[in-house]
């Protein structure tokens, strides 16, 4: 009979679920603006100028929104990508440990970076 092991998955699962919503709602338009419209010059000049973007990020409300969108999306991606690698056939215990370390490590690293960056910009 199988033994059932304790799990701390809720710790990543709630951010994953929240990130599912934020990434579905917000990321497409952000990608469009930063990754396509702006590089192709389809936005008015200065739309993403240093001053304007800095003003948004420096504002407490801006920080809050950025944090609320970026971190859940990040964890959503990290957690789901871990599952995807398993889906693609990483099945050994060691392999799964590595994947977990890689994905969640990535999430952890960029969480710190995001918080530090936002804390630095005023």
């Amino acid at each position: 009979m199988t033994h059932y092991h304790k799990s701390s998955k809720p710790l990543v699962w709630l951010p994953f679920a929240a990130g599912g919503v934020t990434s579905a709602m917000v990321l497409p338009v952000l990608m469009l603006i930063t990754g396509i419209l702006s590089p192709l010059g389809l936005l008015p000049d200065g739309a993403l100028s240093y001053e304007r973007v800095h003003a948004v990020v420096a504002h407490p409300l801006g920080k809050l929104v950025l944090l609320g969108v970026l971190l859940p999306s990040l964890w959503h991606g990290a957690h789901r990508f871990r599952c995807t690698l398993q889906d693609l056939g990483v099945s050994s215990h060691g392999g799964r440990q590595m994947v977990m370390l890689g994905c969640y490590g990535f999430g952890f690293l960029f969480t710190i970076l995001a918080i530090a960056a936002l804390a630095a910009i005023w």
């Binding site: 199988t2 059932y4 304790k6 799990s7 998955k9 809720p10 699962w13 789901r80």
Partner: protein, 250 residues
């Protein structure tokens, strides 16, 4: 187009006493537009090869015995009409993600263990005496979980769920849907008790919401939804246990 008079039935065979590997065998079987795949298997057993082995009983899609892979998809063979496949070859294989005992018969021990593990019965602190009559349960309280009670344990969902194949310890869709069914029952108080299993590493977290389970389920049990709801509930309980002083899992 003229209706065919016979068709080709291809069946996976395996007998552990003589074979080391399964192999395919084909039969020519008379075609009848009213027949289901199970009727064709029965015809073979009665007329060509009495050693062909498969389970069935009710022939009305309710006992859950006759689930098999037909042309790659898990179905109840007593409800899978030949007219939906023929003239193509009809290929019958045992359900996936289970050990093959013989021919189309798979081993269910793992599933039965899982059923027992999730404690599929009413759990209460105090039982109501029989003399006091039935519990009051409003139609909307019944509605809340009714669809999750419809599982016939046919295990098509286990055959369809890739996470079962990738992680054989996963509790799987039907067992988790059943746990949810009891959790949601207005007469039950056992949710926290069941979470020890449903919230374990082998529980809801192994599901990646592939949804193939709900897709193939012949009874509308919606195990995929039941699992997602439990992820939400289990996460909330987990956090509340850690944030609210005095709140603890049993």
């Amino acid at each position: 187009m003229s209706t065919p008079t016979t068709f080709t039935l291809e069946v996976l065979r395996f007998d552990p006493t003589t074979d080391t590997e399964p192999y395919y065998q084909t039969y020519q079987v008379p075609y009848d537009e009213d027949w289901v795949v199970l009727d064709a298997l029965t015809w073979v057993k009665d007329n060509l090869d009495s050693s062909l082995t498969f389970r069935w009983s009710c022939h009305m899609a309710v006992c859950g015995s006759c689930g098999m892979q037909v042309n790659g998809t898990p179905v109840l063979t007593c409800k899978a009409f030949l007219r939906d496949y023929v003239p193509a070859t009809v290929k019958v294989e045992p359900l996936r993600n289970f050990p093959i005992e013989r021919d189309l018969v798979v081993g269910l021990d793992g599933f039965i263990d899982r059923l027992e593990a999730i404690k599929p019965y009413i759990i209460r602190k105090d039982d109501k005496p029989i003399d006091e009559g039935a519990y009051v349960q409003l139609p909307k309280q019944l509605k809340r979980f009714k669809h999750h009670t419809l599982c016939i344990n046919c295990l098509l969902c286990y055959s369809a769920c890739p996470q079962m194949g990738l992680n054989p310890d996963f509790l799987g869709p039907a067992a988790l849907a059943l746990a949810h069914r009891y959790n949601l029952d207005s007469r039950d108080e056992g949710r926290r008790e069941r979470q020890k299993v449903t919230g374990s590493a082998e529980g809801v977290w192994e599901c990646t919401f592939v949804s193939a389970c709900s897709e193939v389920c012949p009874k509308g049990v919606e195990p995929a939804g039941a699992i997602q709801e439990q992820k939400v509930q289990n996460s909330l309980d987990w956090f509340l246990d850690r944030l609210v002083p005095g709140r603890k899992a049993p």
